[in-house]
Amino acid sequence: MPIFSNSELQEIAELQTRYPKPMATLLPVLWRLQEKRGWLDDEAMEEAAAVCDVSKSHVQGVVSFYTMFFDKPMGKYHVQVCTNVSCMLRGGEKLLDEMKNKLGIQNLEHTADGMFSIEETECMGACGGAPMMAVNETFFEMVASTEANDVIDHIKAKGEIPKPKFVQQMPELTEAANR
């Protein structure tokens, strides 16, 4: 059963005109598949192989190389907590443990209802906002344990990711705002 609709295939074909070889769109194609299905199962990988004109084994190799592609089901809300140096210095590990306890799952596991999964990530490029956690694509920086807990509760109650309290600003503007 094809996964992509005709219009989606059309979009991908258009994207492929921007690269000399269709293989180059493998990452974008896998992103689309993961967005549709939550993770990359056999069928998805077969579809990617067909669309990008590569072998399925090549697709499997690529999926296993990149940490953001999931080869097993993950939660609808993927909680990522950084524990690399900058975050570790400001309490990233404690935050990770707290989130694990709150959700009752271990690293790279998902809750029974498929709502949440958790991952101890490497540096996500938010060192200035350490400690940080991300839910799917939303970054929560300078995140205190109360806010982190609130984020999970908010998602559980409302089914959507709340707006982060901390907004990255240019330091000069922040100083001006402080005055």
């Binding site: 990008c52 570790m88 000069e172």
Partner: protein, 455 residues
């Protein structure tokens, strides 16, 4: 010139909006100047500016551009590196968020100088939010005719200039530190696992899809429009003479005001920490600073006096500028724990092509976990040092050095911290040190931490 010139991140609210950017001189003077010069002259102007790459190696940008073949018989590519995965660096994100059009303009000027008709911006997958921001900015620039076939009408060449147009594509990664290495990035963009390639051939001869390719960091290209506007000579007078311009310093860790600060190169490291980033909380002393992202040699708190933040001075001081991500650790920090975390990162991110790195990073981690648990054996300090030294220089790409440097420089500079973690009398009688390492922790000592490392 103002005391603290802001070149990459000027104090202009809402600059990410294309109209604000154009109203402030964007897609104007710099482009017109470039288009009144021959492509080679643009490269020469960048050479004159002394601009050096901001991605870690601080390679002269103009020189890099001049390596590209001048003829147009081959397809050429420009690849802009926005992978930014080095722990401690978070500067490119500020450019994506606050000044994406200056980066785009820099790319267009670079494409003109090297006569490249397609550029790719590769941004790490974790930055999905910022990928969308950049995509929107690129879309706006396309709509206004600043990129794409309509460029020929928007920017009319004059003088020595030639008619020119280029395409720009944003490509999103999927989470792999190693892809920040330029040749690995090319493989990743081609749709493969991100494995670094052996050099030579260098990308300027054999890059993306086997064609001549130049790879620049986001911050590097964002400086280019300013160089065109003020002229290479004026730019070369900002900051340190051998590494001119401003640098985006990302300060993190134990400081009161972590964040990104744009300051002239050659600014004193202690000024950045104390004046700009607000100093160490609770007036504590600094134990260790990593001045350029986690792969650079860490420095002792008492080594910092008078250290200037630019490539040459920092090298003389015993470290390297890297990505200018400054990580500050106060006197109560457990250095061994920090180092173990760094080692875990490089072990996790090693692509696995080269044996010294694939195996060595795991060995470093195993050994460091012994120190972390205060279960290190006599001789382990030297063994750790030896393993690190034997990774360095024996790998295809610089990840080997990135893993080794922090380890052996920390041993050299903080040996007493390691010695405290050695358990006296604990040793393995083996003439073969590799054998000792393999068996280490299993016999005769039972470790309290797992020695098999797998996430």
């Amino acid at each position: 010139m103002a005391e603290n010139p802001k070149i990459v991140l000027p104090d202009i609210p809402n600059l990410r909006n294309i109209d604000t950017y154009v109203a402030n001189g964007g897609y104007g003077e710099a482009m017109r100047k470039a288009y009144s010069m021959s492509p080679v002259a643009v490269t020469d102007e960048v050479k004159k500016s002394g601009l050096r790459g901001r991605g870690g190696a601080a390679f002269p940008t103009g020189l890099k551009w001049s390596f590209m073949p001048k003829t147009n018989d081959k397809k050429k590519y420009f690849l802009i590196n926005g992978d930014e995965s080095e722990p401690g660096s978070f500067k490119d994100r500020q450019i994506f968020e606050f000044n994406p059009h200056q980066m785009i303009e820099g790319i267009l000027i670079g494409c003109y100088a090297m006569q490249i008709d397609h550029a790719y911006i590769y941004i790490r997958g974790e930055y999905a939010h910022w990928v969308r921001m950049v995509e929107r900015a690129v879309g706006e620039a396309y709509a206004k005719g600043f990129i794409g076939p309509r460029m020929k009408d928007t920017f009319k060449p004059s003088g020595e200039g030639v008619a020119f147009s280029t395409e720009l594509t944003v490509h999103k990664g999927a989470g792999a530190y190693i892809v920040g290495e330029e040749t690995a990035m090319m493989d990743s963009l081609e749709g493969k696992r991100g494995y670094p390639r052996f050099k030579p051939p260098f990308p300027a001869n054999f890059g993306l899809w086997g064609q001549p390719t130049t790879i620049n960091n986001i911050e590097t290209v964002a400086n280019v429009p300013a160089i065109m506007k003020m002229g290479g000579e004026a730019f070369s007078k900002i900051g340190d003479a051998k590494h001119p311009g401003t640098i985006l310093f990302g300060v993190s860790g134990h400081v009161n005001r972590p964040g990104v600060y744009e300051l002239p190169s050659g600014t004193l490291l202690l000024d950045i920490i104390n004046k700009h980033a607000g100093g160490v909380p609770n007036g504590k002393k600094i134990k260790m600073v990593i001045p350029g992202g986690s792969s650079m040699p860490p420095m002792r708190g008492d080594q910092l006096e008078g250290v200037m933040m630019d490539a040459e001075h920092l090298k003389a001081a015993g470290s390297a500028i890297g990505t200018a991500g400054i990580m500050v650790m106060d006197e109560d920090t457990d250095i061994i724990k920090v180092l173990t975390r760094i080692a875990k990162f490089y072990w996790h991110e090693s692509c696995g092509q080269c044996t010294p790195c694939r195996e060595g990073t795991g060995w470093l981690l195993k050994l460091l976990r012994r120190f972390e648990a205060s279960q290190a054996m006599e001789g382990d300090i030297d063994l750790l040092y030896d393993v690190a030294k034997n990774i360095e220089g024996r790998t295809i790409c610089a990840l080997g050095e990135a893993a080794a440097w922090p380890v052996y420089f920390t041993i050299e500079r903080f040996r007493e911290d390691f010695e405290k973690r050695v358990k006296p009398g604990l040793k393995i009688e083996s003439p073969n040190r590799v054998h000792a390492l393999r068996r280490g922790g299993l016999e005769p000592v039972q470790l309290t931490v797992p020695v098999v490392v797998r996430v």
